[in-house]
């Protein structure tokens, strides 16, 4: 019980004196109140889901005299992120043959997995101004899921701008 028996030591000392039955009653209620107040406070202010970080390393901006490395077009895949969660993709330099896909697991992921054998694969992510930050993060995330070694963010070329603005070829 939440009581302190104060009589035991005394009764030993005095020998056969009638054992005192009084207990010191300690009222714990205020302490409990405080304990629960603190508990509630900490429970409500705490953050359990610490944010995760998606590391992104971009190439240093090269000096003007340095030409960017040349890549074989056969190994290049380009994803153009448009507005309304649309993704266009094409292989190599064939912008006109671009196809429409989406962010689901049957979209970008399937295309990347189909090209998994190609170790020299370079993927360009070209987000249009109409795309959202979520689109870019999802696209980068798909690269991480498919373990694409080389991927990079780039700006849209004129042909790709036309692609996003105008015609939509069927998937």
């Amino acid at each position: 019980m939440a009581q302190i028996n104060a009589s035991s030591a005394e009764s030993k000392r005095l020998g056969k004196v009638r054992r005192k039955k009084t207990f010191i009653h300690l009222d714990m209620t205020p302490m409990v109140d405080l304990a629960f107040l603190l508990l509630t406070f900490f429970m409500l202010t705490t953050v359990f889901s610490k944010p995760q970080a998606l590391p992104l390393a971009l190439p240093d901006q090269p000096a003007d005299s340095v030409l960017p490395p040349v890549t074989n077009a056969k190994n290049v895949l380009t994803f153009v992120l448009g507005g309304n969660n649309r993704v266009y993709w094409y292989a190599g330099e064939d912008v006109s043959g671009a196809k429409l896909t989406d962010y689901s697991s049957a979209g970008i992921r399937r295309i990347l997995l189909a090209n998994r054998e190609n170790r020299k694969l370079w993927v360009f992510i070209k987000p249009d101004d109409a795309s959202s930050y979520q689109n870019v993060v999802t696209a980068l995330d798909e690269m991480a899921i498919a373990a694409v070694q080389h991927h990079s963010l780039a700006d849209l070329g004129p042909a790709e701008r036309g692609l996003v603005k105008g015609k939509v070829s069927s998937p």
Binding site: T29, F36, T46, Q52, P55, L58, S105, T138
Partner: protein
């Protein structure tokens, strides 16, 4: 008939185990807690499968709100006090000691530097009512670049993290990424929430 004596002893409930548990939980929460930072705007972060935890210290956070406003935050009070003095000399603004100590404990803010002294003079309650237009990031008046440069000067170990709203438009993000690259910061983190579910289906 003898009268039945009413039992005068108050029913005493043994609270000890409950108190034990309560204090155990208090201790646990006290030790594990990390307070929610009171950002001036709510940011709904995009989801990713990345499980890399963001480090606890030496973090510079660039907040992007849904409507494209940019906010700045850095941890470490001492470095923040240094930073505000340094950036004050650059912009010829003299911050009073009171303003400097207020800035040191401030969380995210998104104001052009000219409005900062006035903002710091306000009480914390008044600050919540002030509409923050965001830090200018356009190429003519890129104050974010100055904040970045001076922050890295006072704290070279700083890591840069972008905490953007998933619905933010990409051009804002692109402008910030370009600003980072212009200042030779090519490694940074995008803060995301953990996505669950579809990843397992893919494998």
């Amino acid at each position: 008939m003898p009268k039945i004596k009413p039992n005068r002893a108050s029913p005493s409930l043994d609270m000890t185990p409950m108190v034990d548990l309560a204090f155990l939980l208090v201790t646990f929460f006290m030790l594990t807690t990390k307070f929610t930072s009171d950002d001036p705007v709510a940011v709904d972060m995009p989801k990713s499968i990345s499980e890399i935890r963001l480090p606890d210290s030496n973090i510079l956070t660039i907040l992007i709100s849904k409507d494209g406003r940019v906010f700045y935050n850095m941890d470490n009070k001492i470095k923040r006090a240094q930073l505000i003095k340094e950036i004050g000399t650059k912009y010829n603004i003299n911050f009073t000691p009171g303003q400097v100590s207020d800035f040191a404990i401030l969380s995210s803010f998104g104001l052009p530097i000219g409005n900062l002294p006035q903002f710091l003079d306000a009480t914390p309650e008044e600050r919540k009512l002030i509409e923050q237009p965001g830090i200018p990031t356009d190429s003519l008046n890129n104050q974010l670049a100055d904040w970045l440069v001076y922050s890295r000067m006072v704290n070279p170990q700083l890591r840069i993290a972008i905490k953007g709203d998933g619905a933010a438009n990409y051009p804002v993000v692109k402008r910030i990424i370009n600003t980072l690259q212009e200042n030779r910061i090519s490694r940074f983190n995008l803060i995301t929430n953990l996505e669950s579910g579809p990843v397992a289906a893919a494998q």
